[in-house]
Structures are given as C-alpha cells and as structure tokens.
C-alpha cells in the first residue's frame, strides 16, 4: 500500500514539475520576445530631426491595440496589413512656430506590407522622388517606404522652408534607420512597361476589387488613347489554386450582374465579362491569375491583357 501511494505521489510530482517547466518556458519566451521588441523600438529620433528644427513632442509609440487612439478610423487599414508599431513625433522650427511637421513612422513588419499601405494611399497628382525606391511628395507632405517602414511626414503649412525640412527628414530616415537592404518586391517588375503610368502600381493584401478571393494582388494603370486601364495579377500558391480563384472571380462578377462576352481576339485564352458598362477580363497562366478591371474599351483591354499574360507566362515559377 505504501509503495503504491509513493508511486502515485512520485508521478504527481513529476507531472507537477513538467507543468512548472512548461510555464517557465512560456515565461522565458515572453521575456525574450518583449526584450526583442524593446530593441526594435530603439530608433534614434535625434538623428531624424532636421537641422534647424527641434522636437515639439515626445516620441509616441502605438501598437495594434491602441493605434485607433492616433488615427481612429484609418487604423484597420494598417492592422489588416501586418502593422506592428507606429512612432510619431512632431518637429517645429524654434524661429517660426508655423514651420511644423509631424512624422508618422509605421513599422509594417516587412517591405510588402509597407508598400501595400503606401500604394493604396498614394495621391494621384503627387511628384515621385527619384532618390528613393518608393517615395512621393505633395505640396505639404512626403510619403515613403524604407524597408519595413512606411513613413508619412506631414507639414502643417505650405512653404519652401518646410518642404526642405520635410525632405531632410526623409533623407535622415533613409540614412539612419537600419533595414534589410535585400528585401525587394520582385512582382513589381512583372507588369509590361509600355504605357504604364508612373507610380500607379498598387498592392492589395486582401479583397482587391471587392472580391475576397483576390488576395496578394498587384494592380497597375495604363494610359492608352486617353483611356486609363487597370491591369492586375495575383500569384497563387499553385496552378490549382489559380484556377479556383479565376473561376470564383468570374462567377462573382456574373452573379453580380456581369454578362459573358466573346473575346475579339480569338487566340486570347482569357474570359471577358461586361460589368456595369465596362470590360472585365480574367485569365490564368501557371500559378498566376490576372486580368483587366473596369476598362472602357474591350479591344484595348484585351491588348493589355494579352501583353500581361505573355509576360507572366515567361516568369519562372
């Protein structure tokens, strides 16, 4: 009797130690993760401050839980795109309080997420900045992607002096915040370049054109004979998935009032749908689903679609 009770006690002790060991491992993991997170927060904002300006606020850090406190209704755009942290800081000229700006530095986790939020908010009439991979400016603000970071530098007024200081902040970000310089977005080169509108490429992580299945979708706009045509493609995990998405998107358009049309070019393998007075085209090649969205002219749309299809077909998968 004593031996069996002892055996049971020993077993309970072993189980208890195992549970405690697991809890200790979890606690250690949390500690390590928090310590790692802390390292990422060490961005030296003193190196970002423009020369004749000074900090007009503390650096504030927001996470996915409290991002809405800063940007309210726009928070879902970021939190649904891999957002990790937002750092904000205001800078102002001590000589002229009207010369003020605010930096929003979003850590989006990787360059694809950063490009997504950058591209989806790109202002149509903006001026592209050639010294950066992805950057543009407007009359009072500058927007850029720097590795995993998406930055907005918002001027509180319009002036030459402030514009120079805003540009200086963008250069300071590029020169002082370390990133993985090997991180690229190869898909951006997949679009045919002829007639491509500069800066028109967008990247939808989810639900392009209101269709849930079109995730990880790149779009680009083309200008042909005063028509603007949007081409798109999404690289799927495999050929079968591409077939499914293409079919589901086709059915989605038909179910919402689209009418199947015959392609003018008999050799074109994609499907053409007239939707709300515009031409939609869907094709697939390998593991790519691609097509045209809301084109005024079917013939022009087919021409762009064929070029995109041919280019995607050549890409090693």
């Amino acid at each position: 009797m004593i031996s069996s009770v002892n055996r049971a006690k020993n077993l309970e002790s072993v189980i208890s130690f195992c549970i405690l060991a697991i809890l200790a491992a979890i606690a250690t993991g949390i500690f390590i993760r928090q310590a790692h997170t802390g390292e990422k927060e060490l961005i030296d904002f003193s190196k970002i401050t423009p020369a004749v300006f000074q900090a007009a606020s503390e650096t504030k850090v927001y996470n996915a839980e409290n991002l809405y406190e800063k940007i309210d209704g726009k928070a879902p755009l970021y939190t649904e795109s891999g957002f990790e942290k937002l750092y904000t800081r205001r800078f102002a000229s001590p000589a002229d309080p009207n010369l003020a700006m605010e930096l929003y530095l979003f850590d989006m986790g990787n360059i694809r997420n950063a490009f997504s939020v950058y591209s989806l908010q790109r202002r149509a009439d903006a001026e592209t900045l050639p010294d950066f991979t992805f950057a543009y400016k407007t009359s009072n603000a500058l927007y850029l992607v720097h590795g995993r970071y998406y930055a907005e530098i918002i001027g509180f007024s319009e002036s030459t002096g402030l514009s120079k200081a805003i540009l200086e902040v963008s250069q300071n970000i590029r020169n002082n915040i370390p990133i993985d310089k090997n991180a690229k977005i190869p898909e951006l080169a997949f679009f045919p370049q002829e007639n491509l509108i500069d800066g028109s490429t967008r990247f939808y992580l989810a639900s392009a054109f209101g269709f849930e299945g079109l995730t990880n979708t790149f779009t680009a706009a083309y200008k042909i004979d005063d028509q603007t045509i949007t081409a798109f493609f999404s690289k799927r995990p495999g050929k079968k998935d591409a077939e499914t998405i293409a079919e589901n998107y086709y059915n989605f358009l038909i179910a919402n009032g689209g009418v199947a049309k015959t392609a003018g070019n008999k050799t074109f393998t994609g499907k053409v749908i007239e939707f709300d007075g515009a031409a939609e085209i869907i094709f697939m090649t390998g593991s790519f689903v691609g097509g045209i969205h809301e084109a005024e002219n079917q013939q022009t749309a087919e021409s762009i679609a064929a070029k995109l299809l041919n280019k995607l077909a050549l890409i090693k998968q």
């Binding site: 009797m1 940007i71 209704g73 928070a75 202002r123 903006a126 927007y143 907005e152 918002i154």
Partner: protein
Amino acid sequence: MTEQNDKNLERREFLIRTGKAGIAIAAAGAASYLLYDKKNPAQNAEPENIVTLPDFSVPHVQEQSLSIVKGSDRTKTVAKAIELLGGIERFVKPGDTVAIKPNVAFASPPMLGATTNPDLVAEVIKLCYKAGAKKVIVTDNPINEPAGCFAISGIGKAVANVGGEIVLPKSNYFKNTTLAGGTLIKDWPILYEPFSKANKLIGIAPVKNHHRSGASMAMKNWYGLLGGRRNIFHQDINTIIAELAIMVKPTLVILDGTEVMMTNGPTGGSLSDLKRTNTLIAGCDMVAADSYACGLLDIKVSDLPCLAKAAAAGAGTTDYQSLKPMLAEVS
C-alpha cells in the same frame, strides 16, 4: 495477498479521489448557477447609473428643415444657411446653454480639413450669443490628447476668442447609456456630463472620406461622444453610426463642405486630399444633410448603408429633395 490489498487500496484511493473531484465540480457548477446573472447588465443596472441624452430638437417647421448655401466664406455661408432655416432665434433662446460638438478627433492643423474649421465654430458661437445664449460650451472626446487636439486644430483658440468655453473630457464626465432597440449601444459609456447641463445641441462637422465607413459627416460626428474602447465598433461601423443618429437628437446640424476631404480620410494629411466644393449645409435632419453631401464626395447615398439604416429607424430621410431644401449663394 499484499498485492491484492494494494490493488484494492488503489481502487479505493481512486474512488475517493474521483468522488472528491466530482464534489468539487458539482460545487463549482452550483456556485456558477447561483451567481449567474440571467438579466442583461443594462436591465439589471440601477436606473440612476444609466443615462439618456436629452432631446435637444426644436419643433419641425415645414420646408425649413434643410438649407444649402454655396460660397467660399464659411462665416457668411453659415449665417445665411441658418437665416434660411428661420434664423438663429428659432434654435437658440435667451438664457439657453448651448453645447457645440465639433469634430476634433485629431491633433491636426485646420488647413488639412480633418477637423471642424475653427472659424466656423467661432461664427456659430457668435450667433448663439447674439440670440441671447447664456453660455456656449464646446466639447468632444478625441481619444488621444484632447488638449492637444483642441490646440492644434485651432478650435481651442477660436472658441476662447469669442467667449465660448472648451470642456475637455474627464473620466467622470462619462456615463453609461443604452439605446432602446439598439444592438451596439448597450450599457456603453458616453460623454454625458457637458450635455446634461445644456438645453441646446449643435453638431458641426466637416465632410470627409472615411476609410471604414465611406464617409464621415453629421451622423458620424456623434461617434466622438462614445467612450470606452470604441474602436470595436469599427467592425460594424454602419450600425453604430445609425444608432448614434437615433440616439442623438440635436437642435441643429451644420455640415461643412467648403473644402471636402475626398481621399485618405478620416485623417488625410495632404492638401491634395482636399477639394474645394464651396458648400455649407444646415438642417434639423442629419440623414438628409448627409445624403445631400454624398454628392460632394462623388458617392451615392446607397454607398453609405448607415443612411438607409438611420432612415429606416426614423432618424430622418435620405430623400433630401422631399424636404424642399432652401438654396442660396453668397459671395
């Protein structure tokens, strides 16, 4: 023999332990059952803990529910818009305490159009005092740095310059409310205290694009009354906007479409997000006002499901033409 006893004892020990575990589970279950609150917290709460915003509306006057004034000078357009509705005296009586709810959601300068224009707020305050108001308070609940939002938006200074009083939100200003028939506003904290001391309420909002809801206008402006972790309502944004439009019965709403944020709302950031449309709308029917303003944003009424929801609940009409809006232009 000894081995047999050991087995018997193990079995006995097993049964004892099983019995103890069963008793513990039964006790926990019984305790949970006894402590379970079968009633909705709102229904169960003491009446004095649940508040209802007063009805601030004024009697309806046929064909004086909506006015639309074209012009670039907000001080002139708002004065004209109110004049067309019967004058400020229809809305503000001598001795009134008027609460004004602008959109001060962000610490953003006026030129970016993310917040209500300070000159417009100041002009409305002046009109209220001209009508004999005893006091005009201006309040909002920007979650982040309320004092900074009022300062950088220029509203704080503009209000002070014309004798208004800024009321910054404090934790004890929030009381829980429940909207009868509502699905989201149930025992939820709202900024209540400043409004409990007022007998007139004027909402003043800019016309903006909004990433989540499509637009932020007169109805969405009341979102600023919500306390707590109100971001959870972003998951059902149309319902919460409609419920706010049902919950709040203002004296007057003023919708500023002088310069409209067409893209990247509600924060904007670039002047290129804005478009000058030189329109100011005033009215007693905020559903109608927002429906008209859809045109300024180049969207259809049907693009904003909150409008149909609010109209179906009786908060107003999306058919603004049926109200025969008063039209004018000022230079």
